[in-house]
Symmetry: C2
Subunit: 313 residues, 2 copies
Amino acid sequence: MLELRDRPAPEPGHWQVRVRVRASALNRADLHQRMGNYPAPPGSPADIPGMEYAGEVDAVGSGATMWPVGSRVMGIVGGGAHAELLCVSEREVLPMPDSLSFEEGAAIPEVFLTAYDALYRQLDVQLGERVLVHAIGSGVGTAALQLARLSGVTVYGTSRSEEKLERAKSLGLVHGIDTAAPDWAGRLEALAGANAMHAVMDLVGGDYLGDNLRVLAPRGRLCVIGLTAGRHSEIDLGVVLRNRLKIIGTALRSRTPEEKATLAREFAQRIVPLFDSDRLRPVIERVFPFEEIGAAHTELASNGTFGKLVLRW
Amino acid sequence: MLELRDRPAPEPGHWQVRVRVRASALNRADLHQRMGNYPAPPGSPADIPGMEYAGEVDAVGSGATMWPVGSRVMGIVGGGAHAELLCVSEREVLPMPDSLSFEEGAAIPEVFLTAYDALYRQLDVQLGERVLVHAIGSGVGTAALQLARLSGVTVYGTSRSEEKLERAKSLGLVHGIDTAAPDWAGRLEALAGANAMHAVMDLVGGDYLGDNLRVLAPRGRLCVIGLTAGRHSEIDLGVVLRNRLKIIGTALRSRTPEEKATLAREFAQRIVPLFDSDRLRPVIERVFPFEEIGAAHTELASNGTFGKLVLRW
């Protein structure tokens, strides 16, 4: 049950800044949280959803020195971003690219941080490698596609929608595989050869596991970051052992503050400038006013979106 | 079908030395190979088994400079060690600890290299962590127990035999869990707490997977190096994702020559000296003359051995 309600303005604590939120965006985890399956972590408001924001600093807590009042910022939080005001630790805050609007900025943090972390910190993809990205039309998929291409990694992308594969081509996808048709792994092998993927980024889970392991090269890595198709699967450990594979589970939300800050500072240094130089761009399906957040939830749940659904005040 | 046969003496090639094998040892993979389930890799003789050796260099190939004739050496090979003579690349050869006999040396390479690689190169265990080692009475288990204790890592060891757990105590095992009784994971949690293992070294596979993942701490790592209980299992990817776990498959035999050489040189530098200073010791259940290799196979298959079965000329 989603509704707009008045709350007292939060005050920034030590090392925090308060952000006047201008825009936020929806994530699949918001749908799970709404349905009661994914409670907010300790320290986040239980009843204000929202995991990313773009806005301006409007107050600075004691000890905080990084962001003067008026700074344009963005970032991720454990919750509470679907609000007008939000207090966050300054070291978890990202600078907004100067050239982007708040609506564009709000479409960046969750998906680009997730894709950046998965590709470079979990999977450690390298120049010249091939990576398979499932759900290439999702927010994370479109972010991973752009990042991987910039770093000289060849992307194979899957989607259950031919239309999304078409749209992904405008972001540079060359090798698209329609997973609505049977035997996606066989068709990937026809395109790329057997055991050709150095890494797989999986947002789907469920019974994709067996085929994900099948298409990996010796010493290949699989990063599991989403389970839209379910969490239970069969596994053939013989393949894992023989090909010396690595399966890596990851999630941003459950991390410690220091891990979140480390990732944010690295992303701020390396990746944020790539938006200003137009080498990366947020992919937005549609912008909703906050009053229509219910409609935005319905649209995300339809699985028809390409890129992000943004919310604005 | 095992029998002793005469073969022409092999000649050492470029960068190779020829070793007069004084002793070798048995590995579970030898049983699989004998039954036709685990063929020798390309470059190894298909019909001479044996994956480790201790002996003396008796001839040196062109370009080889590391081991003069008469050097006492040991090491692993893809096959061919159950023989009197063996040619090996010099950079994959390990020096024998001065204080050990050939029979003792032959009990070292496979299990200590495997345990060293799994603990420090795959699982990256650190001072103060807790590691669960399954099959603690096996050759690899007894090696892992000794290595982990030396590096300040607390070992929890399992065995299906109370007697093997008793014998492991003489090697320093403090926390033993009998996996012949039901619910080993629950009894481990009673000992160590929930989600207390930073790493798990699994030589068993099969339906241990679920409990292995259950006992891991957030960001815990599982290394799968053996599948005596089978290769197929169910997996809950939700646990992998939520706790940010890593599952790592590994095997020595399928590695490239340069990987094998890298591991051998590192092991020679760091670990071999620990045998001479008596901080590590090979664990030998029994020594068989090569003429009785059939009986040695039968004994290993019985699962009753603690440590290694050695073969000698």
